[in-house]
């Protein structure tokens, strides 16, 4: 009965990289509290600091600016609630982990490709930039569209605002350099690069401090109290070892993306196709077949893809990202996300394309 699974949902979570499970198991076996003074504590501390150093290297940050969290969601929350700025501006296509902290009237519009409207940002910052933090993602989780973060950061800084960048979908899929991006804060998550879920980090540029976080223990320089997730951080570190190889594979992934989109034409509608995108992400509509039906049909055929933002019951809602791009609700309801990675082969992409066309033909015949 069991069919081989073809995993094309890397943006939901990436398969664990080699060595990650071992690193986690070893950290659990080793134990120790990184805050302890004794030898066991020092050994645990070493694991945490190893990962911190790798992450600093990977993002062009200082190790002192790295705050480990329970993942991207907490990193975003920390950035937006502890920045010392009371007004939060966010792009309309941000992840719910960001928009949840933003008043609806403070969501900034995007163009038809899902890119932030920089003029709208500038206008919104005209009044009180000094009390504002702007949140802009590095790349969109659904369409892969890459945002003009450096430009937005320049605009924000000119107005005295801070810029937070949710780079959860960017890490490992784009080269990241904190100073080149101009971001004051950057959120990342381990499980999107083949590490474990439940660990991530908020990365602070030099001179950026958090406020109101020192309520409990003093871990992470008081910026994130609580005993560190030693096993998770060790797993994150092991996944970071593969980052350079993953970045070196991006050209091949971009070719796979072209291959897939070419195979699906002319029936498919691809979103954000006219803007720089992640090499691994295709957001594609099959007109007439709802996304939830497609996801089921692909699953039954052994392909893991996803539709919009799934909530805990597994039900699917029309994508706010596509709606913000001006896509008609009926069409948005037929869009799925295909996202792949370093382990994905051309054969898998071809098999998926064949299944996509089969489903499309079945609908036509009905």
């Amino acid at each position: 009965m069991a069919k081989p699974l073809t995993y094309l949902d890397y943006n939901a979570t990436a398969p664990a990289k080699a060595g990650v499970a071992d690193a986690i198991a070893m950290a659990v076996a080793q134990g120790g509290n990184p805050s302890s003074v004794h030898g066991s504590g020092r050994a645990a501390r070493r694991l945490v600091e190893d990962c911190r150093a790798k992450l600093a290297m990977a993002t062009g940050a200082k190790t002192s600016g790295i705050v480990f969290t329970s993942g991207g969601t907490e990193a975003n929350r920390l950035a937006l609630t502890a920045s010392g700025r009371s007004r939060i501006l966010a792009c309309a296509v941000e992840h719910p982990a960001v928009t949840a902290h933003c008043l609806p009237e403070n969501l900034l519009p995007v163009d038809t490709q899902g890119r932030l409207d920089l003029a709208a940002l500038e206008a919104a910052l005209a009044d009180d930039g000094a009390d504002t933090v702007v949140s802009l993602m590095l790349a969109n989780n659904e369409t892969g569209a890459i945002q003009p973060v450096a430009e937005a950061a320049a605009i924000a800084h000119a107005a005295g605002a801070l810029l937070h960048c949710d780079a959860v979908q960017g890490l490992g899929k784009l080269p990241i350099d904190l100073s080149r991006l101009g971001a004051d804060m950057l959120s990342v998550s381990a499980h999107k690069i083949g590490g474990p879920a439940g660990v991530g980090a908020l990365i602070l540029a030099q001179g950026i401090t958090l406020t109101g976080t020192r309520a409990a223990g003093g871990q992470e320089q008081g910026r994130r109290p609580g005993t560190e997730n030693l096993a998770g951080i060790a797993g994150f570190g092991a996944a970071l070892d593969h980052l350079a190889a993953g970045l070196a594979d991006l050209d091949r992934q971009a070719a796979l993306r072209e291959r897939l989109e070419h195979a699906l034409a002319p029936d498919a509608i691809i979103f954000a196709q006219d803007t720089p995108r992640l090499a691994n992400t295709v957001c594609v509509a099959m007109p007439g077949v709802t996304a939830e039906t497609q996801v089921m049909a692909f699953d039954l055929a052994g392909f893991c893809v996803s539709a919009g933002a799934a909530c805990s019951s597994g039900k699917v809602q029309a994508s706010p990202v596509l709606l913000a791009m001006g896509v008609a609700p009926d069409l948005a309801a037929t869009a799925i996300r295909v996202s792949f990675g370093q382990e994905t082969t051309a054969d898998e992409i071809d098999a998926f394309a064949a299944q996509w066309k089969l489903l499309c033909q079945r609908k036509r015949a009905a």
Binding site: M1, V289, T290, E292, T293, M296, A297, D299, L300, C311, S312, S313, G314, K315, V316, Q317, L359, R362, K363, A366
Partner: protein
């Protein structure tokens, strides 16, 4: 007897389903509509045990959190979790479809508007007719399924002229009244593995299969109406639409006041607060509801008798279409009544005239009139008008 059950079931032997497809069962894809209750869970278990490729689908029909007035409850109610657990236990894939907006449009809005028109609606029929057998069935076809299975207690029997809809073997469980609107095309694609079982057998099978819902109570209420307080639901769907008015006798004499016609149904005695007599010691019943005049019209029981019924949206499952040639049948005009003898004639406009041999009391527009030939469902429609004399 049902054709789908090859052998009688006991608590230790599983009835083998055979849906009669020409290809191997493992290559025959069956979607099972799973509510999370014991009936559809057993239906899924039977399909899986028979070796079919079985797929469970549960419909998210309304916001459970909102229905029970709890804020912040995202998504699934207990029933969805139950359906998922049953699917896990059976080792079948399970999906949840968000049909909230479809259910709201097709079922809940219709429910509220029918009450406000002075009718007594049956939302379960509308749900079967639209959300389940139109929308879910289309999704099952899109998934490449060969059939859609539900846990309804009805039988689909292959007849000379195609599939026929029959009442369940166990009359106490029969749900054929609620499925009268199933079209021939839908019936062709549907299968009902429980129609040949008594309910006690279903429970025994649930235990036999080790289903986590074996001891779960049967659902009684309309699913989106908690505690039977349908007036609250109508008020929420149509704020301000429930208006007070007069209770009058058949001559228009005002006898009292009411808080909204939706609180009444034809044939009702309770809640009138009139002392329930007209002064001559005869009890008073609701005989008519006038939405435009906001009136509840009351009268003696004798004023409730009706022999002439008009039905609309006729769905016909008989071998020959219902035309101007009268046919004899037994009809049910409420889900709970025993069928009574009647004559049906098509009205040429998609409806039918029904003449009952004997008057029936307490017939309400919005209810269904379903015609049977013995156990076979011939068809039915929605009651739009009733009269005690032949229509002009």
């Amino acid at each position: 007897m049902s054709q789908v059950l090859d052998q009688p079931a006991t608590s230790t032997t599983t009835p083998d389903l055979d849906f009669g497809f020409s290809k191997p069962r493992a290559e025959t894809r069956i979607v099972v509509a799973m509510s999370g209750g014991v009936d559809s869970s057993v239906a899924a278990a039977l399909v899986a045990a028979a070796g079919y490729e079985t797929i469970g689908i549960t419909l998210q029909l309304y916001d459970h959190g909102a229905a029970v007035e709890r804020k912040g409850a995202c998504c699934a109610g207990q029933d969805i979790h139950d359906a998922r657990n049953v699917s896990d236990a059976l080792g079948i894939p399970h999906y949840v479809l968000d049909y909230e907006s479809k259910f709201r449009q097709s079922v809940m809005d219709d429910f509220a508007d029918a009450y406000l028109r002075g009718e007594t609606p049956i939302p379960c029929v509308r749900c079967n007719q639209t959300v389940k057998f139109r929308d879910l069935l289309a999704t099952a076809r899109d998934l490449g399924a060969d059939a859609l299975v539900t846990g309804h207690y009805v039988q689909r029997i292959e007849g000379a002229a195609g599939p026929e809809l029959h009442a369940a073997v166990d009359p106490s469980r029969d749900q054929s009244y609620f499925l009268f609107a199933t079209t021939p095309e839908q019936l062709d694609f549907l299968r009902f593995p429980l129609g040949g079982l008594p309910k006690t057998e279903t429970r025994a099978l649930a235990e036999h299969f080790g289903l986590p819902v074996a001891a779960k109570p049967d659902s009684q209420d309309i699913c989106f109406v908690p505690n039977g307080s349908y007036a609250q639901v109508v008020e929420k769907l149509r704020p301000g639409a429930i208006e007070p008015g007069d209770i009058v006798d058949r001559n228009g004499t005002v006898l009292g006041q009411h808080k909204g016609i939706i609180h009444f149904t034809i044939g009702q005695r309770r809640g009138l607060n009139l002392g329930n007599t007209d002064g001559k010691g005869e009890p008073l019943y609701v005989v008519r509801l006038d939405a435009a005049a906001k009136q509840v019209i009351v009268g003696p029981r004798s004023a409730l008798g009706r022999r002439y019924v008009h039905i609309s949206e006729l769905n016909w499952l008989g071998d020959a279409p219902l035309g101007t040639q009268p046919i004899r049948a037994a009809v049910k005009l409420r889900s709970t009544m025993a069928a009574i003898a009647a004559t049906l004639t098509g009205d040429g406009q998609g409806g039918a005239h029904v003449v009952l041999d004997e008057p029936e009391y307490g017939l309400s527009p919005g209810q269904a009139c379903v015609a049977y030939l013995d156990a076979r469902v011939l068809g039915g429609g929605w009651i739009t008008a009733t009269a005690d004399e032949p229509p002009a």
